[in-house]
């Protein structure tokens, strides 16, 4: 993964972002929330270079909704794509059965992104062998030379899982 520019991120973000390690960024909100964003390389689902988007928030108490968190995460993702013309994969966590909520939130975040027309966003839901509903999405830059192959691979894999036996 090519290194992101912290300066470029902070020019767009609402909160001050720092780099903790390679592909690992953090910021602190007005409500005391400690947020981390990490890009994790994984080639198990897709053939081409693909990174998981991992976001974790930690706090002592429940904090109110904060649009500055969304803006800051979008600034980090924006810089990720500025420096890396690869695939970003988002698979919703299912452990607490709140995957549909996470999926809606992620789709809402992307829909508010002002440069969304420069990207291809493909989202889908599928049931695994335990009957659990999963949500997965990929984001790829429209100028990625392998765009059609990437989208085709993702949709083919997901449709195989969505089809009845």
């Amino acid at each position: 993964m090519n290194q992101l520019s912290i300066q470029a991120i902070n020019e767009l973000s609402s909160y001050q972002v720092t780099e903790v390690g390679e592909g690992f960024y953090q910021f602190f909100t007005d409500h005391g929330v400690h947020c981390s964003v990490e890009f994790v390389l994984d080639d198990s689902l897709m053939s081409r270079e693909t990174y998981h988007l991992v976001i974790v928030n930690v706090n002592h108490h429940k904090s109110p909704s904060d649009t500055k968190v969304r803006d800051t995460i979008i600034a980090i993702i924006d810089e990720f794509f500025e420096k890396n013309n690869t695939t970003l994969l988002y698979i919703c966590e299912t452990g607490d059965k709140k995957q549909a909520l996470r999926n809606r939130l992620f789709e809402r975040w992307f829909s508010t992104y002002e440069r969304k027309t420069q990207y291809t966003f493909v989202a889908s839901s599928l049931k695994d062998d335990e009957g659990i509903e999963n949500y997965a999405a990929i984001i790829v830059r429209n100028d990625n030379p392998d765009l059609s192959a990437i989208v085709s691979e993702f949709t083919t894999t997901i449709s195989l899982l969505s089809s009845k036996p």
Binding site: V56, E93, E153
Partner: protein
């Protein structure tokens, strides 16, 4: 020419010219539902492991920094 021979020629041509394309072709052309499920579950597990590791790291960093218990941990 039999259909299987045609397949093999296509595979050979792709393999010769582009290793990545060959991998994609192999995955799509020969992938079964079981294989797709295995791949999806592997990707999901990678994400889960990354989330678990990050949660642990952040909880201890938060508690060390603030002296407060990290009661609310949310992952996306």
């Amino acid at each position: 020419m039999r259909k299987n021979d045609e397949k093999l020629i296509i595979i050979w041509k792709i393999k010769k010219n582009n290793v990545t394309l060959h991998r994609i072709f192999n995955r799509l052309y020969f992938m079964t539902k079981e294989e797709a499920l295995r791949r999806f579950k592997a990707a999901r597990q990678t994400k889960r492991d990354a989330v678990a590791a990050l949660e642990e790291k952040m909880k201890s960093a938060y508690e060390e920094r603030t002296g407060l218990k990290a009661n609310y941990v949310v992952s996306l």
